[in-house]
């Protein structure tokens, strides 16, 4: 036993030295390579992960260009896993064709998980927004990382817990490590309102509540249902894809919001999960307005959120409420406390009935509070989240192999576009050139370590890094 441990230790140490050396190459070449294509980056890195992207109008050309770029980046290394981020095309059929083309280009031996994004694909080079869409592919070739892709169609399950449980079991089985919890699980969900917390509960039944599950929900530009989740096997509109990541390499995650908790809090006394009727036995919207010192009703009465028809405009009201979202406060018996963000965006009907609509689950009896933030605080999180991920992994900048990022669309909409363009550059700087790919998602998932569980939240940026 001791000998085995020593052998394992030696192997890990050796691999670490190799990886550190490679990371050193990245670091040394980082400055002059950052503005060049990912292809060049990967030539310097020699192999383990590479990102390719394309904004070509024809999806076949786009897929080819992105895959070729990523493969070129890997050099002689054979990819074992692909993480795809793409903007949806105009129809489900087109989406399906794009997915098939990706599978075709990657070949049968590459496991794949993919997610649709709003706006464009983020990589080290920037945000790629094409007139007819964009596609980005992260290829990973490391033998020290095992990926297990599990998927379910949520529509096939009556129970969200069961769906989550099944998807997780499928992922673990796909990884070939039954009975062992992965180091991290990548979550690809759907923006359609679902019982994401129940799904997470189901996942927790398999891998434990504290095993980090990080990811986001697929999105599209108009939140019109064209979003898609895809694997090397199949594409889904309302699917759940979990990627179990097993590795003996350093790995970490970041999951954080840019808001600060205020002293205003209460208990959701009546709620159906996504529509809070009462907080502390008072009409929920009245309480929320009280927390905002009457500013909500003042603006509502002034018609500041109205559209041309006199109804409340979703985009107008969210500009205000997303700067003042609700926090779900989690307390456990030993006194530990955690919290995460939930978007409150009331509609015309909600205002009439004084209810508070939220975009992550708030059940009756859950404690909620008021968050406050600005676009500046969100931009500061752009730097802290990759740093958190590196810190948790114990990696220095440039030592990672790859990183995957999800950035909430609600957050993005609050940041001026010229500032948001800096997000990939800042992320790249913090990661020290580690290849990364990011999607703009409609709901995020991640761990709250203070309370030892994963949650479904909004207005979050999250990231995993392996290195």
């Amino acid at each position: 036993m001791i000998l085995n441990k020593i052998c394992k230790l030696l192997i890990v140490s050796f691999l670490s030295i190799v990886l550190l050396s490679l990371s050193g190459c990245i670091d040394q070449n980082n400055n002059k390579l950052n503005l060049e294509s990912s292809k060049n980056i990967q030539e310097a890195v020699t192999t383990l992960a590479a990102v390719g992207w394309s904004i070509k109008e024809d999806y076949n050309d786009a897929v080819s260009e992105a895959v070729d770029m990523a493969k070129d980046g890997l050099g002689n290394e054979t990819p074992v896993f692909a993480y795809v981020v793409l903007t949806p095309r105009s129809t489900s059929e087109e989406n399906s064709n794009v997915a098939d083309e990706i599978r075709n280009q990657l070949g049968p031996n590459v496991k794949m998980a993919g997610i649709t994004t709003k706006l464009g694909v983020m990589t080290n080079d920037g945000i790629h927004v094409g007139e007819n869409g964009s596609i980005g592919i992260l290829l990973v070739a490391s033998e020290n990382i095992t990926f297990g892709v599990g998927e379910v169609n949520l529509e096939d399950f009556n129970s969200s817990e069961e769906a989550g449980k099944t998807a997780m079991q499928n992922a673990i089985a796909d990884a070939g490590n039954p009975g062992t919890s992965p180091n991290m699980t990548l979550y690809i969900g759907t923006t359609r309102r679902g019982d994401d917390m129940r799904i997470l509960d189901g996942i927790a039944e398999v891998i434990g509540a504290e095993s980090p599950v990080i990811g986001g929900s697929a999105n599209d530009d108009k939140v019109s249902g064209l979003w898609m989740q895809l694997t090397h096997r199949k594409s889904y509109e309302n699917g759940l894809i979990l990627v179990a990541i097993y590795t003996n390499l350093k790995n970490g995650w970041g999951f954080e919001t840019g808001y600060k908790l205020t002293d205003h809090s209460g208990i959701a006394t009546i709620s159906d999960g996504y529509l809070i009727s009462e907080i502390d036995d008072q009409p929920a919207l009245d309480v929320y307005d009280e927390w905002l010192n009457g500013e909500l009703y003042e603006k509502l009465n002034a018609g500041e959120f109205n559209d041309e028809t006199g109804n409340i405009s979703f985009s107008k009201i969210k500009e205000f409420t997303l700067l003042n979202p609700v926090a779900r406060v989690l307390r456990i018996e030993d006194g530990r406390i955690g919290h995460y963000t939930v978007s409150p965006i009331p509609s015309t009907e909600d205002v009439a009935s004084k209810k508070l609509r939220v975009f992550a689950e708030i059940q009756e009896g859950w404690e909620i509070a008021l968050y406050r933030g600005t676009w500046q605080t969100h931009m500061n999180r752009v730097e802290t989240i990759p740093n958190d991920a590196l810190d948790r992994a114990g990696l220095n900048p440039s030592e990672g192999i790859f990183a995957i990022m999800q950035f909430c669309n609600g957050l993005r909409s609050q940041i001026p576009s010229e500032e948001f363009e800096k997000v990939p550059a800042i992320t790249d700087d913090v990661l020290g050139g580690v290849p990364f790919i990011g999607a703009i998602t409609g709901g995020e998932h991640g761990p709250i370590p203070e309370v030892g569980r994963n949650v479904n939240a909004n207005l979050i940026e999250c990231m995993i890094v392996v290195g």
Binding site: N31, G126, M379, N380, E418, K422
Partner: protein, 502 residues
Amino acid sequence: MRLFRKTLLAVFSCFLLIIIILSYILAINHVNDSENGLIEQNRIYGRLISKQIEIGYLQYDWPYELLNELSNRDDFIFWWVVKGDDTIYRSDDVSFMRTNVYDYFPQLKNRTDFDDTIYSNNEKNYEIYFKQFHYGSEIWTIWIGFSLDAIHQTSTNILVTVSISVISILILIFILLYMLMKSFTTPIVKLLKTVSEVGKGNFDVSSDIKSKDETGQLASEFNIMVKNLKDSRLKIEKYSKNLEKLLKQKDEFISQLSHDLKSPLNPLINLLPIIEKETENKKHREILCVVNRNVGYMKNLVKKSLKLAKLNAPSTKLKVEDVNLFDKINMTIKKNDNIFNNYNIKIKNNVSDKINIKADSLQIEELFDNIINNSIKYSPDGGTIAIDAKFENDFVNVSIKDEGNGMTPEQIVHVFDEFYKADWSRHDFDSSGLGLSICKRIVEKHGGRIWVESKGVGKGSTFYFNIPIENVSAEKNVSQEIDNFLYLRELKQKDKDQLNDI
């Protein structure tokens, strides 16, 4: 008026120039102050931002609000946060991030001082402020690029605005002054024109000025004056006509009378010497001699009266020609040579032979004859008569000085009056009392003046007269008419007296 306008224009131009120069100086000062202010503002931004980045380093808390505020400034060009390895870590523009700062400013590669310093690019009108700060263990630098164009543009705008405003205001003032001046000068110009017309003898004009100020009052008074002048002129014309008629009657009367007197005198003059000669009675001969002398006196009186009447007649014209004064005087002297010898009187013609005048030769001869005869008459035996002449302005002044009885002041006043005799106790049959009056008329007919000076009785007299070198123009003006009127009026009175005397 033109001078006033020119002066006003010059003052206006100088004022305009001074204002523009002052504005330019103010604008330059403004630019310098603004530049310094702008640099200081960016320096403050740089210090604050770098300090906040330093403080927020551990929390990754970037001073977005300050950076945003900086980016929204009008003078802003860029801000860069440059890492120790010279790569741009943060920038207002994402395209600069992760690039080398010296790709854009190679000229600063050898610069060593980046802490709280300024780089000025005068050619391109921008400046960069540098401030170093600690980011963890590294020394980073914030670069803030800002433009001075806005300030220069503002100063140009200020200069242009001030210039336009000043020019506009001055033009407005100039127009107002011009209008004000015109309101003053227009009535005066109108009045001047009217005065000029009146001066030309046109009394049918009036000054149409309705203002109630002093100019209006002056114009009103002037109009009244013109009206009075017009009335006076009409009266004068009326008087003149009457006078002319009277003069004509007088001339006709004197002419007729002289002729009528002269006609019966001729047989007397011719016959009386014969009768006197044939009369043997001494008593009778003496009586006839007295009669004969009185007839001669009467003939002389009639002759002179006719002469004076002829001179007084406006219709009598002078026959103007070149007259040499020296020759003319000599001729007179020669004519009276016997008399000079009889009375042993010396006469000196001191006149230059180069003095010529335009005059009626016969009249000038008559003039000298009368004055010299008068001087001879009152000169003592062995006395001297001196004649001199000299140019004075446009006249020739002639003086005839004798050593005779001289005159009292009262005699001087009346000596040229018709039929005036200085000594009535002397029954002088040779003197008609008209000789000097004729002289006066001759001189006046030539446009000159005659007068006499004496230091008193027994101290001799000097007769002076002057004659224009060129003949006086026949053109008459108002003053001449008035003079003529006054003269005619005086003449009329004299004629009345003369007629009464006759």
